[in-house]
Structure formats: C-alpha cells, structure tokens
C-alpha cells in the first residue's frame, strides 16, 4: 500500500533572509536579493550581478574538526537544516535512534577545487592543501557533512540534476517514503555563490548584464529580460510518512502529492516545450487531482529568453483555459540553481500558509508567450491550498512537484 508523504519541517538560508521569518517578509515586500559585486568585475566577469548571502559564522556551534570539511554551500545547508529540524520538533536523540535518510541537491563545489590546485601549484606539495580539500571538493560535500554532523542513518545521497537537483531530491525522497523504504528523509538543495563556481556560466553569456540596476536585472517572463542572475544558499525540507508524523505528534505543514519528471532528450542548454510539459502532466497525474485544484504555479523561469518562453508555452499547453497565478520567485532571488527546487517549495509554502502570492517583480511587459499566462506583477492576496513547482536543468532534466496544504 502506498503511504502518504507529509512535510513536517522547513528551513531556509537565502539572499532573501537567514530564516523563515525574514524570507517571508522579503517575499511579502517584493524585495530583491541581487547586488553588483565589484570583485567579479575585477576578475573579468561579463556580468558582476549576483544574489548576496553572508557566510554563516558557525564557530562555537560546530567544532573545528566539523567545520574544516564544509564548503560554503554545506554551511548554508547546515543552517537551513538546523532550522528545519527544530521546526519539525526533531532532536538529536530521535535522529540517532531512527533510520532517517538524507537526499540533498548539489551539483558543484568549485572553490575548494580551485584553492586546492592553486595551493599545490604554489607550494609543490599536496600535503599543504590540508585535510579539508578533498571533502570540500566533492559534489557530495553537503550530504557527507550533514550526515556526520546530525548522525543520520538512512539513505545518504547527493542528487545532481543541474538546476532541478533540489526538486528531484524532494521527489525521490517522497518515493522512498511512499514505497515504505524510509519513514523520514531530510531533503533539500544547496548552492555555492562564490565567483569561481559561476565564471564558466558567465562565459557563455547566460547572465543578465543590466548592471546599472541590479534589482531590476532578474525579470522572468518580462519582454525585456536579458539573462539570469546567479544566486545561492541552502534550503531544507523534511518529509516523512503520515504515520510517522502522527506517531510522534509532529507539526504537519503540507503534503507532497505529486512528483513528475522527464528528460528533453534534446539540446544540452536549450530547453524545449515537450519535456517540461510531460513533467507537469506526470505530476498532475500522479497527484490524482484536476488541474483546476492547483491555485498557484511557481515557475522555473530564470529570466532567459528561450527558457521562459518555452516554459510559458508548456504551462499554457497544460493548463489550457484555466489560468492560475504563475510567478517566478527568481525575480527576487535570482537563480538559486542546485538549491532552487527546494527553496522554491519553501517560498511557495510560506505564501500558501500566509494567503498571498509574491509579486513576479520586474514583470512590466509580457512577451507573446507570457501574455497567455496569469502573471501578477504585484503581490496578490489569495487563499490557495495546492501549488505546483517547476524545476528544469541543463541536459534537459525536468522535475515538477505538487504540494498541498495538509487537511488531515
């Protein structure tokens, strides 16, 4: 028998705030987390725009021997996970005495690689790299650190699915619980934000160059968009079986009712319409709901020309005459990449719990395709109990989640 999967804790550390309360306020205010970074300009970046996230100070919270293996994105993920565990009413005793899994989205750890190689070249001695280099450099840096810090004993795996990583992590975790293989999985996504991690992305002219007005640069679906703005942080979503949540008297925030996925089988960077459409349709089919039950769509839209255009076409094709509000929170955050699928579930949950839809800021003029969607450029007061969240990535990987407010 398939089991129901519920969300019992969330935590966030992003350019919109260092915890749920700050992020909720930023969403409400339509605040942008984008800045102009002088360092990037001096390094030779085409675009010096980026989301801004402060490195958390974990000294005194984690020991030196724990921190030394953590790249920046693992530190963001740690803060987000600590918040999520607290909200889920989970303590260390529980984690150590149950088989709690960990599936986290991450698809790079560039800075430690660069620094390790620089040290080796400069000193001519690999020992000088130190003990942290190898562990910080691996794609699984987030899961290997979180699993050791929190002493997790279930599945322990990093999901690398480009900009859909965080969404796939939640989706795959929900399947493990649904099928009875895990009772609880700590899911999420993390994204490094240092210049080394995105210089090659900047090199393919993917980023907005609206440097004169950083907060206006990320403008998904707007006619005058000119590229994405990279961003980062950490987002954690704790999912568990309904039985587990009830048994331990956990706060049940929402339910994961649908996970859809697909691959475009097409171009490495240019998305198409068919792949995303199939992902949306699968999620709706798996959820077993009518599309009219979906009150809000959190789009993947990153502010690139063809990406937003093709997603608009896919959403319009799936929803047809029914037009729920569609926004991209990337208008405020920039593109949180490996983290985005998890953070955007949290942003959408904050809206759902507080009866509003954050403005798709900078949406001033639609283009031919976005004109067919219901995209609010201003905050909307609205009660909704079900949302759909899209995440798409390089290589044509697509993930769609449908989340419903918990009704018992």
């Amino acid at each position: 028998m398939e089991r129901r999967v519920v969300i019992t804790g969330v935590g966030i550390y992003s350019c919109l705030g260092k915890n749920l309360e700050e992020v909720k306020q930023s969403l409400w205010d339509g605040k942008s987390g984008i800045i102009f970074d002088e360092v990037r300009k001096s390094m030779g970046f085409r675009s010096a725009l980026t989301g801004h996230v402060d490195l958390p100070n974990l000294k005194g919270i984690l020991s030196r021997n724990q921190r030394v293996y953590m790249p920046e994105q693992a530190q963001y993920a740690y803060v987000a996970t600590a918040e999520a565990l607290a909200n889920a009413k989970l303590d260390q005793d529980y984690l150590e005495s149950h088989e709690v899994g960990l599936l986290y989205g991450n698809d790079s750890s560039a800075e430690p690689v660069v620094k390790s190689v620089d040290t080796m070249r400069e000193k001519g001695d690999t020992t000088m790299i130190g003990s942290g280099g190898i562990f910080q450099s691996m794609n699984s840096a987030v899961t290997m650190n979180l699993s050791c810090i929190f002493k997790l004993k279930g599945i322990n795996l990093t999901v690398s699915g480009a900009c859909a990583s965080g969404s796939h992590a939640i989706g795959l975790g929900s399947l493990l619980i649904k099928w009875g293989l895990q009772d609880m999985v700590v899911c999420g996504g993390a994204q490094e934000i240092n210049p080394y991690s995105v210089c090659s992305f900047d090199g393919i002219s993917a980023f907005s160059t609206r440097e004169s007005d950083p907060t206006k640069a990320s403008r998904p679906f707007d006619r005058d968009r000119d590229g994405l703005v990279p961003s980062g942080g950490g987002a954690t979503v704790i999912i568990e079986s309904l039985e587990s949540a009830i048994k331990r008297g956990a706060p049940i925030l929402a339910e994961v009712i649908g996970y859809g996925f697909s691959s475009n089988g097409d171009h490495i960077s240019v998305p198409n319409v068919d792949g995303p459409r199939r992902s949306l349709e699968m999620a709706i089919r798996e959820a077993g709901i009518r599309k009219e039950e979906i009150g809000y769509v959190n789009a993947h839209a990153t502010s690139t020309h063809v990406g937003d255009q093709n997603e608009a076409k896919a959403i319009a094709a799936v929803f047809d005459t029914y037009k729920p509000e569609v926004t991209s929170t990337k208008s405020q955050t920039g593109h949180e990449m490996w983290m985005a699928g998890a953070s955007e579930v949290i942003y959408s949950m904050l809206m759902m719990k507080n009866d509003f839809i954050a403005a798709n800021i900078n949406f001033e003029n639609p283009d031919e395709d976005s004109a067919k969607l219901n995209i609010p450029g201003q905050r909307v007061s609205k009660h909704f109990d079900t949302f759909l969240s899209n995440s798409f990535g390089f290589g044509g990987t697509n993930s769609t989640l449908i989340i419903r407010d918990f009704k018992g």
């Binding site: 000294k59 020991s63 030196r64 030394v68 001695d125 020992t127 000088m128 003990s131």
Partner: protein, 80 residues
C-alpha cells in the same frame, strides 16, 4: 630563531587553528590528545608547521612527535 620564539609561535598558531586555550599547550602535554587530532587533522598540523617555519616534514615523521616539548625540539632541529 630562538627556542623561546619557536615555542611562542607554535603555541599561538596551534591555539588559533585547533581552537584551544594556549594554557593547555605545555611541553609535557600530548599533542594528539590536547588538539583532538585524528589521522586527518594530523595532516593540517603538518601543513601548518611546514607553512609557518618553511620546513618539509610528513605525517609519518610527525606522528613520532608525541608532546609539544618534542615538537619544539623537532622544529628547532629542522630549521637549525
């Protein structure tokens, strides 16, 4: 560099890196126990000493150095 300068430099360096009070670093104290070193953080000790004093050592050599007093002598011998 005098022995006193080596002691002062080593103590400050290790206290900062391994986050212990300088007072616990005494000549007779065991290095691994005091700094909570495992096989991995021993690498950091080697890198730190090599980098600071411009000497070349390795984990095998360093693991034979048991106390801080022996460490001071080890460094003094290397830079002599």
């Amino acid at each position: 560099m005098t022995k006193e300068e080596i002691i002062s430099k080593v103590n400050a360096l290790l206290a900062e890196e391994f986050e212990v009070e300088e007072e616990v670093i005494t000549p007779d104290a065991n290095i691994k126990k005091t700094l909570e070193l495992d096989s991995l953080s021993l690498v950091d000790l080697v890198a730190l000493i090599d980098g600071e004093f411009g000497i070349k050592t390795n984990g095998a050599e360093m693991s034979k150095v048991l106390t801080f007093g022996e460490l001071y002598d080890f460094i003094a011998g290397k830079i002599a």
